[in-house]
């Protein structure tokens, strides 16, 4: 490969690379302020939110958090901004960017921020941080300015597991997880327990999309996994896999079976195929935390939201749950009460 690099050619090379890199860098520029500059008592409170792997528009986990942020902007009049990191290396940078600009609260959406938030929180001790699905550090203590927001996903998953077990005609149901981590195994464990509770003979087929964060954004893999489970007989498939779940919905529609959504009401993603959704109120957790900051009573430390707090559950009423028979809803409601009363212990793994 004899190279004779003329000045014009090398200039062109440089220009090409600069343009590409500029385009790459521009993805980390802050999006425009989401709402027109608000008026009111909390207008000076600035909240920055950094999205998880699936990103804005996942119609699930991230959009639920975004919903909480938008509601805070509307009802409390706080100023909000969001960032969508394009990869692991951008996550910490995005949080740092908000903190350095003097934001009052910086929210990381997802367990994946657990380490980053600890690092950045120590560097900016007067900024408040919140992290959804926060995993506390194995050693040492949480920084005093971090609120870790956690959910009892196994409780909500238990309920949709019961729905799946009651509605399956084949005695086979499926589960597609995103990244193979304890957080997602909680969904699987709760789902299995729910299925077994109502249908001890039912078989649960479970698979994970991968072992890296990208497993939460791989609909191609999600479709293949769901296809495999459905071909093995599953006629209801539940996913806890971010946008990988869109592939699960595609598979369920093509194969003529039902799917169960996760985190937010995913009915509109595929009406007629999405039977119901396990709800995890990331929006409530985000809104409550912002309100606490706005009203000057932010509390650091771990906070856990479950069935009893109304922060997890499933879509059981209205047209989005029309595919579930009343009888099934009643049985699941009875189970729900027993979980809240502590009569049923749901495993976390």
């Amino acid at each position: 490969m004899a190279e004779r690099s003329t000045p014009a050619a090398s200039k062109l090379t440089v220009v090409t690379l600069v343009v590409s890199l500029a385009a790459a860098a521009s993805t980390l520029l802050p999006a425009r302020a989401e709402e027109p500059r608000p008026e009111g008592p909390h207008a000076k409170v600035r909240v920055g939110l950094v999205f998880d792997v699936g990103g804005r528009g996942d119609k699930s986990f991230n959009d639920a958090a975004y919903e909480g942020l938008s509601r805070a902007a509307r009802e409390l009049g706080v100023t909000t901004e969001v960032l969508e990191p394009s990869g692991a290396e951008d996550r910490e940078a995005a949080m740092r960017l908000f903190a350095a600009r003097g934001f009052d609260l910086v929210i990381g959406v997802g367990f994946i921020f657990s380490t980053d938030v600890n690092v950045v929180a120590r560097d900016f001790p007067s900024t408040r941080f919140a992290c959804i699905d926060y995993a506390p550090p194995m050693e040492g203590v949480m920084p005093p300015n971090v609120a870790g927001l956690r959910f009892r996903e196994e409780e909500g998953s238990f309920l949709v597991g019961a729905v799946a077990g009651l509605m399956s005609k084949t005695g086979h149901v499926g589960f597609v997880g995103g990244m193979d981590i304890p957080l997602i195994r909680k969904f699987e464990a709760g789902y299995r327990a729910g299925v077994q509770e109502v249908c001890p003979r039912c078989e649960v087929h479970a698979a994970f999309a991968g072992t890296t964060p990208d497993a939460f954004r791989d609909p191609v893999k999600g479709k293949a996994l769901a296809n495999s489970e459905i071909a093995a007989g599953a006629d209801v498939v539940y996913h806890a896999a971010g946008t990988t779940g869109h592939g699960v919905f595609e598979a369920a529609r093509d194969m003529g079976v039902k799917a169960i959504g996760v985190d937010a009401d995913q009915h509109d993603e595929m009406p007629g195929t999405v039977l119901t959704s396990m709800i995890k109120r990331g929006d409530v957790a985000v809104f409550d935390t912002i309100r606490d900051v706005a009203e000057g009573r932010f509390q650091a430390g771990l906070r856990t939201f479950g069935l009893a707090e109304g922060a997890v559950g499933y879509v059981d009423e209205g047209p989005h749950a029309a595919g579930i028979p009343e009888d099934t809803k009643r049985k699941v409601e009875a189970l729900e009460q027993r979980v809240i009363r502590g009569e049923i212990k749901i495993p976390e793994r």
Binding site: L17, A31, G54, V220
Partner: protein, 303 residues
């Protein structure tokens, strides 16, 4: 075992293999003409994005497909302009192409849909029966117009390269550009024409990827362009064998998925997931280096 030798497996293997095969055939066209092309990944991604954006705007997956092919040709010709006319090193131009595609699709997503990660869902081609049987799955895979185009490209490429005047010129430009130029072939023009074909076929794979999910996701090509490049090298730059290598990869990926459910609880569960990549590495390690590579790959007709 019955789940391994089944119509389901066959359908899944083909479905998974199509984007790889399109990218690999695109790679064969570019490199047989003598142009190093590591930008297949970027063309796949851009093809997927363009197909979704145009389908979303026009509600016509056919227009989306045409636009994707147009975008693929444009990018591929851009690569050709840089490498053949401006003499930028093809590896640098290819890296730039991949970086540009990754970032530009994210910018496009944000500009169009206010999200740098996901497009809204689209209504793409949907033919074939609904149902969970292996037969229905296979019919759905085969009744897809994009699959049909891809199949035509795979079938036509070896024939065109071997038996037509254009194919001969492409091979001449790739094997010995100096000799080709000396008999009056415009090496640059032949290479640009081959790159146009390359970009069109590669973008077809991107459209298949996106239509299969009825949406676009940033970075959804997920390295397929590079694995396709490996298939090109392993096959000795021969189109038929490259497509076959991609099908084998599709089988391994489908196998990995079927096995996962059964062996996940055992210690080898995680290893199963690495099956397709281990196989790629093994084949690359065992294949003779650069055997069958076009002699004039990366060389120019005139200094």
């Amino acid at each position: 075992m019955s789940s391994i030798f089944s119509l389901t497996m066959l359908a899944e293997s083909i479905r998974i293999a199509v984007p790889y095969a399109c990218a690999a055939i695109g790679g064969v066209w570019a490199e047989r003409a003598g142009v190093i092309q590591i930008g297949l990944e970027g063309i796949l991604l851009t093809g997927a994005f363009t197909a979704v954006a145009v389908t979303h705007a026009t509600h016509s997956p056919t227009l989306g497909l045409v636009a994707a092919i147009g975008a693929g040709i444009t990018l591929s010709l851009g690569h050709g302009q840089l490498t053949e006319r401006a003499r930028v090193h093809a590896v640098i131009s290819g890296i730039a192409l991949n970086l540009l595609a990754l970032a530009a699709t994210r910018m496009g997503l944000r500009a169009l849909y206010d999200s740098a990660s996901n497009s809204p869902g689209i209504e793409a081609f949907r033919f074939g029966p609904t149902g969970a049987t292996g037969g229905a799955m296979l019919l759905r895979v085969l009744a897809d117009p994009v699959f049909f185009c891809a199949l035509a490209a795979v079938a036509a490429t070896p024939f065109v390269l071997r038996n037509t005047r254009f194919g001969l010129r492409v091979r001449a430009a790739g094997e010995n550009p100096v000799a080709a130029a000396s008999v009056g072939i415009s090496v640059t023009r032949v290479r640009l024409a081959a790159l146009a074909v390359s970009g069109a076929i590669c973008a077809l794979g991107g459209a298949h990827l996106a239509y299969d999910q009825q949406r676009f996701e940033s970075g959804m090509s997920a390295g397929r362009g590079f694995i396709a490049l490996a298939a090109v090298v392993v096959s000795g730059w021969r189109a038929g064998r490259a497509a076959l290598a991609c099908l084998v990869f599709g089988v391994l990926e489908a196998l990995q998925i079927v096995l996962q459910d059964e062996v996940r609880k055992t210690a080898i569960g995680d290893l199963i997931q690495t099956l397709p990549y281990v196989a790629t590495l093994l084949v690359l390690a065992l294949a003779p280096r650069r055997a069958g590579a076009p002699e004039g790959l990366g060389k120019h007709a005139a200094p």
